[in-house]
């Protein structure tokens, strides 16, 4: 049974790259185009790991993490922020919101895979 990953990003190319990278390693990947869509998909299904961008129309990544952490099903699920934001202030906000990790774009596919494998196997 492959592990399921939800990737939330308003950039189609980033979603495509994340999906390609993780699918090549055997993960099942579901895409959402913004925070609200990501929250809806997370509530409708069950995921082993969630990757989200920060700057998105509607609900941003930090608010998505806060909303997900309020759901019992995602209390301990690894949630990674994948964003161009790299300031320490934003990382602190992410940590406080409940993010498991902070990955700054551009991501290296192999490093992303290593992190995902480390978190969900």
């Amino acid at each position: 049974m492959p592990k399921k990953v939800l990737t939330v990003d308003d950039s189609a190319s980033i979603r495509q790259m994340v999906t390609f990278t993780l699918k090549s390693a055997g993960y099942e990947v579901v895409e959402a185009v913004d925070g609200n869509g990501g929250l809806a998909r997370a509530q409708a299904d069950s995921f082993d790991l969630i990757l989200t961008d920060q700057n998105m129309p509607g609900m941003d990544g930090l608010n998505l993490i806060r909303a997900l952490r309020k759901l019992p099903a995602y209390g301990t699920t690894p949630i990674l922020m994948l964003t161009t934001e790299s300031s320490d202030q934003m990382k602190s906000l992410g940590r406080a919101a409940g993010a498991t990790g902070w990955l700054v774009k551009p991501f290296d596919p192999q490093k992303l895979l290593d992190v995902v494998k480390r978190l969900v196997g």
Binding site: S11, E85, S86, S87, V104, P106, P109
Partner: protein, 386 residues
């Protein structure tokens, strides 16, 4: 009037600054963005900058302005319309640039993904071929396994053939022994022939002596004739037996030759076949080694390809970063447009317009101060696990 003067001055400087920032951020944007987005945005901003400067009022001194001696000339309404129109067009064209880059990058990512997947599939196929896993059912075996089984079967066959040859040689020896025994029988027949001749001679002498005895020897003459007759029949039988033995001897010698020939032919054929099979096995082993070497190189090549695709995937993320930067530049344009609107004559005719403009200006300064993309290069971003 003083406000209009500073408004235009700030606008012109702002546009100039943005265009310089856009140009300086070129190395981050990559070749596609450089060729598509930068000239467009930069040239647009420079055009706006010069438009502002061209319409700038003559030299104004704040004190003179405060004293009511301003010599400024109002900006013509059609110029403001032109500027607003250009900003609107810029927003549309920036949006088109983003769409173009995104489409191109999506296609490239698809292409690289397909390339990588195809290479991995080819490697898997080559490895399956080498292992002999490509078969229509579970009984499929590798070519090397097949040859090994044939070699084993041929080895057993050669052992059996050698054993048969050994038995054939024993048979040949037995044939030679039979031939020698036949020669002994022929010698005995010669002895019988000699005895028969002597018996015949004795019977002839007895007949002569019986004839000399006259009537008294008549009976003895009959006996002597009968003995001579028996001697002749014995000689005849002896000759027939000799002929038969000679024919049997010839047949044995012929059989011996055939068995000898058969034994030597079988061995030669089998040994030649085994030699050919050994040669084939050697060639197959060489081919196996070459195939293993080729697959190793293919695996290495696919690994390199995967690394290159990884680099391409990382580099193609410039689209997302550039898109965010362009969007940020767009926000700056919106801010400029909004401030122009807020400071227009129409707005100034309404009450409290300065308060509204100042409040909005403060909001814009805060929202535009945070650039979402801090990276200046395309190297892999940091990873922090909390």
């Amino acid at each position: 009037m003083v406000f209009f003067y500073w408004q235009r001055r700030v606008m012109a400087c702002g546009l100039c600054l943005i265009s310089v920032l856009v140009l300086l951020s070129g190395p981050l944007w990559g070749a596609v963005a450089w060729s598509l987005a930068l000239p467009l945005v930069a040239s647009m901003l420079f055009v706006l900058h010069f438009v502002y400067l061209a319409k700038e009022p003559k030299v104004i001194d704040r004190e003179e302005a405060d004293a009511g001696n301003s010599q400024t000339a109002p900006v013509a309404p059609d110029c403001l319309d032109f500027i607003q129109e250009q900003i609107s067009q810029s927003k549309l064209e920036v949006s088109r640039v983003q769409t173009l880059i995104q489409d191109a990058v999506l296609t490239l990512v698809n292409s690289f993904s397909g390339l990588s997947q195809e290479a991995a599939a080819q490697l898997q196929l080559a490895e399956s071929l080498a292992k002999g896993e490509v078969g229509i059912d579970s009984h499929a075996m590798s070519f090397s396994t097949f040859v090994n089984e044939i070699a084993n079967a041929m080895g057993s066959f050669v052992e059996k053939t050698v054993e048969n040859s050994r038995l054939a040689m024993l048979l040949v020896e037995q044939m030679e022994s039979i031939g020698q025994e036949m020669q002994g029988v022929i010698l005995l027949l010669d002895e019988i022939h000699s005895i028969t001749n002597q018996t015949n001679m004795l019977a002839l002498n007895a007949s002569i002596e019986a004839a000399r005895a006259g009537e008294a020897g008549r009976g003895f003459a009959v006996v002597a004739e009968e003995v001579r007759h028996l001697s002749g029949r014995t000689s005849s039988f002896s000759d027939e037996i000799r002929n038969l033995i000679n024919r049997v001897n010839g047949s044995v010698e012929h059989a011996e030759g055939l068995i000898n020939q058969l034994a030597s032919q079988d061995m030669m054929f089998t040994l030649q076949a085994k030699q050919r099979l050994d040669d084939t096995s050697s060639r197959i082993r060489v081919m196996d080694d070459m195939m293993a070497e080729s697959i190793s190189r293919l695996r290495h090549g696919v690994g390199l390809l995967s690394d290159h695709v990884g680099d391409a995937v990382r580099s193609l993320q410039f689209q997302d970063m550039v898109s965010q930067l362009i969007a940020h530049v767009g926000k700056r344009l919106y801010g400029i447009e909004e401030m122009m609107e807020l400071t227009s004559n129409k707005q100034q005719q309404q009450g409290q317009w300065e308060v509204r403009a100042s409040a909005r200006l403060a909001e814009l300064q805060i929202s535009l101060s945070n650039n979402p993309v801090a990276q200046g290069q395309m190297q892999s971003g940091s990873i922090d696990l909390f």
